[in-house]
């Protein structure tokens, strides 16, 4: 990606020898490319990344390239990331507006069980075996429309993914920033704890938690999922934020804040944390599919989302029981979920390359 490098403006100077054979001093390097208008005065230097606009001349503004604009451009160059972005957008949109549309078109909602014909029909099949648009994904054992349930599953899976990621974000960022900022023995201890937690089979404990406390009501089950999943997925976030904070905390702006008497917690959360936003966003987008996968794992085992609500994991769980006879019950939710995770991972990877080229794995 050579095009991404800032243009080297003194290129001609390089090609010249440092000294002329006759001993005449070299020409001053040309500071601008051909065709540029050089304004002798009033010119503000456009820095990289932080200046959105700069004034030059009278009332005339030129746009600088911000970090975000740069990243956006880089992201658009990455075909797989764009593919991921489009698919994720479609999935979010469809799961938001899909259920009412399905209801309007076919009259089916996710929990509607018909009074007769309570059996599983293949996709595009009416009860009498003829072709029909009513159930594009078929029905489940109770005759519920699988399309409506997959859409609802999308809503719930996405919600669990996003909210649990926010929970993990809050824990991970505060923990990592505190450890990085305080440094020394405290940092050692805090990071040692993270190291140890990394290698613990915490999912097993989460299963115990959900098995013993879950199942009271659908809503409390969801809440439990948010907390449990958030509480176990903050470790990498803490490590990333700590690394960022350590590299930032000795810079002048922190010193300035300290000199003016800002408290430690304010320095951490008002000055340091906003500066770690890039990597945090990148990692958060990669956490969402992971959390969704964990949620699906728990729902698949029967400890996650409870009927009549559905998530992609619990739908897969229902489908797997009948895989031999009604394979569509598993294939539609399963493939939808795989597609969603696939695109989210690509989007996350693309964002990482775009926002933080240094983090890119070569």
């Amino acid at each position: 990606m050579n095009e991404d490098k800032p243009d080297i403006i003194d290129e001609p100077a390089r090609t010249q020898p440092a000294f002329d054979t006759l001993g005449t001093p070299p020409k001053a390097p040309i500071r601008a490319r051909e065709g540029d208008t050089i304004h002798p005065t009033h010119e503000l230097i456009v820095g990289e990344g932080d200046v959105r606009t700069a004034e030059r001349g009278e009332g005339e503004f030129i746009a600088g390239t911000s970090l975000w604009k740069d990243a956006w451009k880089r992201l658009l160059k990455n075909k797989l990331a764009v593919f991921g972005m489009i698919v994720v957008a479609i999935i979010i949109l469809v799961s938001l507006i899909g259920p009412p549309i399905v209801k309007a078109a076919t009259g089916y909602t996710y929990d509607y069980i018909p009074s007769e014909n309570q059996k599983s029909y293949p996709p595009f099949t009416a009860p009498d075996g003829s072709f029909s648009w009513t159930h594009p994904m078929g029905t489940d054992n109770a005759g519920r429309d699988i399309l409506a349930r997959v859409l609802l599953g999308g809503r719930i899976s996405l919600m669990v993914g996003i909210i649990s990621t926010i929970v993990s974000l809050i824990i991970g960022v505060s923990y990592g920033a505190t450890a990085g900022f305080l440094g020394g023995k405290v940092d050692d201890l805090m990071m040692r704890i993270v190291d140890v937690l990394y290698s613990l089979p915490y999912l097993i404990v989460v299963v115990v938690l959900l098995a013993f406390f879950g199942g009271q009501s659908a809503l409390s089950q969801l809440f439990l999922l948010f907390v449990a999943l958030g509480a176990v997925s903050w470790l990498t976030m803490a490590r990333i934020v700590r690394g960022q904070v350590i590299s930032l905390k000795n810079q002048e702006f922190v010193m300035a804040a300290r000199a003016t008497g800002v408290s430690n917690s304010k320095i951490i959360f008002r000055h340091l944390v906003p500066n770690t936003l890039g990597p945090v966003i990148v990692y958060a987008t990669l956490t969402i599919p992971q959390v969704m996968l964990t949620e699906a794992f728990l729902s698949f085992l029967g400890f996650g989302v409870q009927a009549p609500l559905a998530s992609w994991g619990s739908l897969a769980n229902d489908g797997v029981q009948n895989i031999a006879i009604f394979p569509w019950q598993l294939i539609f939710p399963g493939v939808t979920m795989a597609l969603a995770l696939f695109s989210m991972n690509f989007l996350g990877d693309g964002l990482r390359d775009a926002l933080d080229p240094q983090m890119r794995k070569v």
């Binding site: 797989l80 089979p201 013993f212 598993l330 294939i331 399963g334 794995k361």
Partner: protein
């Protein structure tokens, strides 16, 4: 080195106790009890039950007994599988799960390292892109979707392989579960190997090895792999913790009488001694494996000294 191992082992014991205490606390804080069911129990019988299982004693006595059980590695008797000690259940189920997990990790290592190395050597080629896209698919495809689909194809349509059930160690029954379990790790390992190898292949010592006229094969296999595999080695620890979760799912899909199946049943049955026993056993083995990984790290990378 010896001091390091000793220190780590000393840390391991409180870690296990913490995990187990957390589990125990969760079980005890949950409403209800293992003997409460749909049928009402007469108070006299309830009193006898509580006495029999030591539930009438104060909580710290019960907790102390639980910890003591773990320290001497005797987890008591299961509540639901009557007359069977937790240890005998562990001894019976562990070989199943261990075989599954070990074979899956071996397969993942073999395929992942090969694919990752080839992708790194042919960076930006079509082969590289397709294998990395495939790896991404492996990461995104949940094993409970992959497993049933494999069963659908290879057992229920083509009739090549048995669909479920445990059939002993060298048996066709193992093929599908092992592939299902290893897919995710294969994908992760391929990605880690690729990025590790790309970094190493640019190092000076590889240039030196090439400059002194070594064959490409020797450069890659003898010199580059050793450095390039470091990320894979450090991934082994976390992978193991997830492997156990994966085993739970795969055992459920393929109806294996393994640790995971018994753990799920124990959770559903509120079989406290069995839950505690399995959690303790898993924590101990995970922590010991992590220690082994750290020791192996020292052998592979001579710059690391303990």
């Amino acid at each position: 080195m010896f001091g390091f191992i000793l220190r780590r082992l000393i840390v391991t014991i409180p870690m296990v106790i913490i995990v187990v205490s957390l589990t125990w606390g969760l079980i005890r804080l949950a409403p209800g009890n293992f003997y409460t069911g749909e049928k009402k129990i007469p108070p006299a019988i309830e009193k006898n039950l509580r006495e029999k299982y030591g539930l009438d004693k104060p909580w710290y006595v019960q907790y102390g007994k639980m910890v003591w059980n773990i320290v001497r590695l005797d987890f008591g008797t299961s509540l639901k599988y009557e007359g069977q000690s937790v240890n005998s259940i562990l001894a019976r189920t562990l070989p199943v799960s261990a075989t599954l997990g070990f074979l899956a990790y071996l397969l993942a290592l073999f395929v992942g390292v090969t694919a990752g190395t080839i992708a790194a050597l042919k960076q930006n080629s079509r082969l590289d892109y397709s294998s990395m896209a495939l790896a991404m698919l492996g990461i995104s495809l949940p094993n409970f979707v992959l497993g049933p689909i494999l069963v659908l194809i290879f057992s229920l349509t083509l009739y090549w392989l048995p669909p479920t059930r445990w059939g002993g160690f060298p048996s066709l029954n193992l093929i599908l579960p092992v592939i299902t379990l290893s897919a995710v790790y294969m994908a992760y390992i391929a990605r880690l190997t690729r990025s590790g190898m790309l970094e190493v292949l640019r190092a000076d010592y590889i240039r030196t090895a090439r400059a002194k006229g070594l064959s490409e094969k020797a450069v890659v296999l003898r010199h580059a792999l050793r450095g390039g595999l470091m990320p894979v080695v450090s991934y082994t620890g976390p992978a193991l913790a997830f492997l156990i979760a994966g085993t739970v799912v795969v055992e459920r899909i393929f109806v294996y009488p393994g640790l995971g199946t018994y753990f799920l049943n124990a959770c559903l049955n509120r079989d406290e001694p069995l839950i505690i026993g399995i959690v303790a056993f898993i924590s101990i083995s995970v922590l010991i494996f992590n220690l082994l990984v750290d020791i192996a790290y020292g052998f592979i990378d001579p710059r690391i000294r303990y």
